[in-house]
């Protein structure tokens, strides 16, 4: 009965494109609502420490969503995203930092960049544009490779970016911190940016191109035989992902005011990768769940790390526990839910499944 009614409805009104758009918008709305609710709640009631933690978590979320756009849809493991975060942060720093501070910090900057100063918003936009451009250049090479070779290229990108940042001292200050970036971004703006990025990722995933790319992720050969230009789609996702990850770095620079190249290396790469994997990288909801789970867990572990007393039992200091636990969490998730916590489902799909199960349960009862 049900299926027949459904068939007639879809055939009668013929709203396929609209149905897709409506579905994507509904999915995006859920994501934005949840993210905004958490963010606004923290803004209203959180202590400064919690606010700082949340701001960092949201910036991580933007990076993880950027990771999801490429990795979740194309199924190519990417470890280079921390490099793009670094680029986003440093480009913003170079353009937004006041000339006076730069005069003492990077007086010999090439291309006369020591004398350039633009508003934070323009610095942000320039930075995201430049990061996307580098994404395009690296992407042209990346899409020619498949599987593990592509992953190794992403690691190389990370190492090269780090190398350039550390050795090009005239422009990036090398291993020293780059400070004096105007701190114009607070949690509020970060929430807005996160919402925008969530919508972009969800719309891309559900778009025609997103569906084609996900098809090619399971079977590139069959996808090509169905007319899908796999390389072109991977390039689009890579550049879009780079832009979003660069956006995370740029926001971080404008939020923290001080950046350091070492903060954007393997540690960050693996932390955000772990968030994507734990939540389930095939869905945008998974990115959100992964960031939330790991942020809370790691914070709890950090308390444990310092040594606490529970019910009269004093636990000793256990330095390095958070690093260990990160590994344990990933192993546990891989064992019990190899597809991540969300298993590739979006939140509205989970609701739909629950509703169906409820209806079925009622009918039986």
């Amino acid at each position: 009965m049900n299926t027949i009614a459904f068939a007639e409805r879809t055939r009668g009104s013929r709203p396929f494109l609209d149905a897709r758009l409506a579905g994507n918008l509904r999915g995006s709305l859920w994501l934005v609502l949840i993210a905004a609710a958490i963010g606004l709640f923290v803004m209203a009631f959180g202590s400064p420490f919690i606010i700082r933690l949340t701001a960092t978590a949201f910036i991580n979320l933007i990076a993880v969503v950027g990771l999801q756009i490429f990795m979740g849809n194309s199924n190519v493991v990417n470890i280079g995203h921390a490099g793009f975060m670094a680029l986003g942060a440093y480009f913003t720093a170079i353009f937004a930092t006041p000339v006076m501070i730069k005069a003492s910090m990077i007086p010999n900057a090439p291309f006369g960049l020591a004398g350039v100063e633009v508003g934070a918003l323009y610095a942000f936009l320039i930075s995201v544009a430049l990061t996307s451009l580098i994404g395009l250049l690296t992407g042209l090479v990346l899409v020619r490779l498949a599987g593990i070779a592509a992953t190794i290229l992403t690691i190389s990108i990370l190492v090269i970016v780090q190398g350039v940042l550390v050795t090009w001292t005239d422009l990036f200050r090398g291993a020293q911190a780059f400070f004096g970036i105007p701190k114009v971004v607070g949690l509020g703006l970060i929430i807005v940016a996160t919402a925008a990025v969530l919508v972009v990722a969800r719309m891309f995933k559900g778009s025609r191109l997103g569906v084609q790319l996900r098809a090619s992720a399971t079977d590139p050969l069959a996808a090509e035989a169905m007319g899908v230009d796999v390389k072109r789609l991977r390039l689009i996702a890579w550049v879009l992902g780079s832009a979003v990850v660069g956006c995370a770095g740029a926001l971080y620079a404008l939020y923290a005011g001080t950046i350091n190249a070492r903060a954007f290396y393997f540690h960050t790469a693996f932390l955000t990768l772990a968030m994507a994997i734990v939540g389930g990288m095939r869905s945008v909801t998974g990115a959100m769940v992964g960031v939330a789970l790991l942020t809370v867990l790691l914070e709890l572990i950090r308390i444990l790390e310092g040594g606490i007393t529970v019910l009269g039992i004093a636990f000793p200091e256990m330095l390095g526990l958070s690093g260990l636990m990160l590994g344990v969490i990933i192993v546990a998730v891989m064992c019990f839910r190899s597809d991540g916590f969300m298993g590739g489902h979006e939140i509205e799909e989970v609701f739909a499944m629950l509703r169906r199960r409820l209806v079925a349960g009622k009918r039986e009862g």
């Binding site: 996900r214 996808a223 899908v228």
Partner: protein, 268 residues
């Protein structure tokens, strides 16, 4: 050994709106492909008219898969060319061939495992609707699914379907390209008699409804006899003979190739 001109054999009337024999055909001319020093396909000439169901048979290793890969752009031929409705297909990439109007299925089913039934069809449908100039009219996705009896299952994950329906979905997906020519690579493999009987009807219905030429690669000679109007036999990379199913399957050379191969199989 060259192909017999198609006028020698009994070509059925093409469906309305399509004129067979006026250049509307998939024309394979003198195609050769070598791997190392060995010819996988040697000087093969073959034509599949619009609206025709052409069978391609041959023992294992005869070059059937290579021929398919040459037609779909997966492999580049060393010599010879493929022409589709007057358009030279040499040098086109796999996606370009697909958009130009060559749909295919795979010997071992290759559905998009992480997508549902409708999305599987949608992937082909969107590439076709974007890049198509002319060619057969595109069917709506739901229309296509209901013709193939898959509409009630549209929201199921593709790989949760039973085997026979997965084969059917693969055909539906290829049809979403609105192909001028449909290549079916062992469509009856793993099917029981009742299922392959249904498949015969389905393939003929597809030809009638969609007006495309169908090239069926099969091992099952009974299946080929029932579904095809003409049969080509490939042996050691060369065309052994082309003709009506009766003529071909009673040809002593074909029997020798097949029975010979069969008795070798039994011995091994």
């Amino acid at each position: 050994m060259t192909a017999l001109p198609s006028s020698d054999v009994n070509v059925p009337e093409a469906p309305e709106g399509l004129s067979a024999g006026t250049g509307s055909c998939l024309d394979i001319a003198g195609l050769s492909k070598r791997f190392g020093g060995v010819y996988a396909v040697r000087d093969v000439s073959l034509r599949c008219d619009a609206g025709e169901i052409l069978g391609l048979i041959g023992p294992n290793g005869a070059g059937k898969s290579t021929l398919i890969n040459l037609i779909t752009g997966t492999l580049r031929p060393d010599t010879g060319q493929v022409t589709m409705d007057g358009r030279v297909m040499n040098g086109l990439t796999v996606p370009e061939c697909a958009r130009a109007g060559i749909g295919r299925t795979f010997q071992n089913i290759r559905l998009f495992a992480n997508l549902d039934v409708r999305q599987n069809v949608e992937v082909a449908h969107t590439t076709a609707s974007r890049h198509r100039e002319g060619g057969p009219e595109l069917h709506e996705i739901d229309d296509l699914l209901s013709r193939m009896g898959l509409l009630p299952l549209a929201d199921r994950l593709a790989t949760t379907l039973p085997y026979g329906l997965q084969r059917r979905l693969e055909i539906a997906r290829a049809l979403a390209l609105a192909p001028s020519y449909l290549l079916l690579d062992e469509p009856a493999a793993g099917m029981n008699d009742a299922e392959s009987e249904q498949l015969v009807d389905l393939i003929q219905k597809i030809r009638d409804d969609f007006g495309c030429g169908v090239l069926v690669i099969e091992h099952d000679l009974r299946f080929i006899r029932r579904v095809c109007e003409r049969v080509a036999v490939l042996h050691m990379g060369e065309i052994l003979t082309i003709g009506s199913p009766e003529a071909v399957l009673n040809d002593p050379r074909v029997i020798e190739v097949y029975i010979g191969a069969a008795s070798e199989d039994e011995a091994a």
